[in-house]
Symmetry: none
């Protein structure tokens, strides 16, 4: 036994884990944390209960993993949007719009981020807060980077307002019947405008 695990096995494990995670994410998004049971996840992903517990210590763990994976996707999306715009205001607008649109196109993930991760255990609550904090942090940096354009007295507060505004705007849009709502792009734009006006406005 010259090595602990064959590459093949290693890759398999990764693929398996990814499958667990995707299935769990989907179910959490569709039914919520409590309603998505472990047996349910097992039934959908294949495999066995025991196997599930080899990849995650417990149910909370998968949820945390799902939440963090989600956080990274969002970060990546927003960073890219920012990178494509030299002007700080355009960059911020693009970041907000991309956040909105990413969630609008991934409603299950949006649900996890916005509603299903609330009111759970303290630990989960904390993970959710830390994901949000990461995003807020980026906004704070941007605001601080150009005080002339963004005259916010307390960038941390502004950043939170911005995140809250986007989430609530997006969630309302998601809850509205498809036939009655405006196009996502339109609402994304208006939401971005709202926050741009807020952070650039002279007071």
């Amino acid at each position: 036994m010259p090595y602990r695990s064959t590459p093949k096995t290693e890759a398999r494990k990764d693929a398996r884990r990814k499958l667990w995670l995707e299935t769990a994410t989907r179910l959490f998004g569709e039914r919520g944390y409590h309603a998505a049971t472990v047996p349910m996840i097992v039934a959908e992903a294949g495999g066995s209960t025991g196997s599930f517990y080899m990849y995650f210590r417990n149910k909370e763990d998968v949820f945390v993993a799902a939440l963090e994976a989600l956080g990274e996707q969002i970060t990546a999306t927003m960073d890219q949007a920012r990178a494509e715009n030299a002007d700080p205001v355009s960059a911020m607008r693009a970041a907000v719009e991309s956040l909105f649109l990413f969630l609008a196109r991934n409603p299950r993930e949006a649900r996890i981020m916005i509603v299903e991760s609330s009111g759970l255990s303290p630990r989960l609550e904390q993970v959710r807060r830390s994901v949000l904090a990461r995003h807020a942090e980026r906004v704070v940096e941007t605001l601080r980077s150009d005080p002339a354009t963004f005259p916010a007295a307390y960038p941390e507060v502004a950043a939170r307002c911005m995140v809250g505004a986007v989430f609530e705007s997006l969630y309302t849009w998601l809850e509205t019947a498809e036939r009655e709502r405006l196009p996502a792009e339109e609402v994304a734009r208006v939401t971005a405008e709202y926050n741009i006006a807020a952070v650039t406005g002279r007071r």
Copy 2:
């Protein structure tokens, strides 16, 4: 038996119901919807399981009642703030600040409104949304009442952004350790400014 129900009894029932509601509200705020069990509520409020079910059809029912009572308190608070200010901008600022401060002073109620009422059953979700919708509606009215001052293209979107911004700002404040955070009044003011700038800003 000169009358159907003695005032005494009637009053007692009301008092009893109020006690149930307050106890339940407190526990929901402290531990969340799922973690606050009926036996727990019974133990804290005194009385018996059966008695609890005489006042509420089921657990969801108390939660709905708590949520709606809360909604009305918030409405009243904000209406009063608005009534005390003739100028629309001041009125809006006052309303936002009063919302923030009301929740900051009633953290358990804030938790219920912001986090604990998310991700529950569809019915509960819907009640939460309808309470929020009521507040958003007021904001929309104000925005519409003076288009010169509030040039929002889509007041409904703006209203949602505002509600979301306040909630997120407030919730972050609540989660921050007391020693590290700014005074509530300060954050309330800054949050109000954020949103005032957003709705009055020319774009």
Copy 3:
């Protein structure tokens, strides 16, 4: 106070008790012993829980009273049928038919007698058996009264068979959709024939 209770009060009490009994009978027939709750009976009959317990020691008690009242109605019906026929065979036929028809026309009462009074507490079971025994007893008497016509070796067994046959035949009829079933009179007649043939047949 020359007398314990005024006639007026006495009459009232009787009327009240009768109302309780009728309401309870109806509900037992419609929903079964367990599903018909005391609060339900109170709600339908008017009055209060406490009042209910002034007329009956407990829920079992009303059921017993209902069952016995029913037993007497059935006895009366059958006795009358018998009395109208001099010939023993005709008398028996008439008795069976009248039993069938009485139950067919009072389906709720039939349910109580045939199905809802089964599988309950030992005491209730025993009451049911004693009501049935009373009917069987009459049949036994008739069979014994004319051994030449009714050559049954064991009249007690024959009587039970007869009762069982009528109940099952009737209950099947009741459960059959109205559009698909034969007229009650026809089935009553056939059922009577079955039993007459059974008790008169030479073997």
Copy 4:
């Protein structure tokens, strides 16, 4: 892992299920559907509540399973009795006697079939009716197969009468104290005679 489920495991599950079913059947027969609680069944069969619910969706389910297993045993018993007799009348007599004797020897099962399955939920009621209908159907076939011998105008009615007669006769016998009652074989014979006379008798 050369095969999906080892015969050993498979066999174990079957044995376990059988044990649950037998224990439940016994308790239902002894105490009735309502009085036989799930915890009781668990205590008697060994195992845990959760395990019970792995084999049956709910309490109703075990009862249905018990009722249907019983129905099949009865069917098998009667079919065998019929098969052993070429002559239609003898076959019918044998079938009735075997039904009576099977139940007389399995009093708990008899209770389930005759009394404990009445007056329960609509679903349970329906299962009971369908089991009875199956038996009645067989009788109808036999009656129809030889109209010269069995001149019944409505075989369906006759079949129901027969089933009812046997059940009631049997149940009365079961309820009678052992010291006071006739031998089961005797009552079975007399009951069979009753019904044979009924279906062969010229009217």
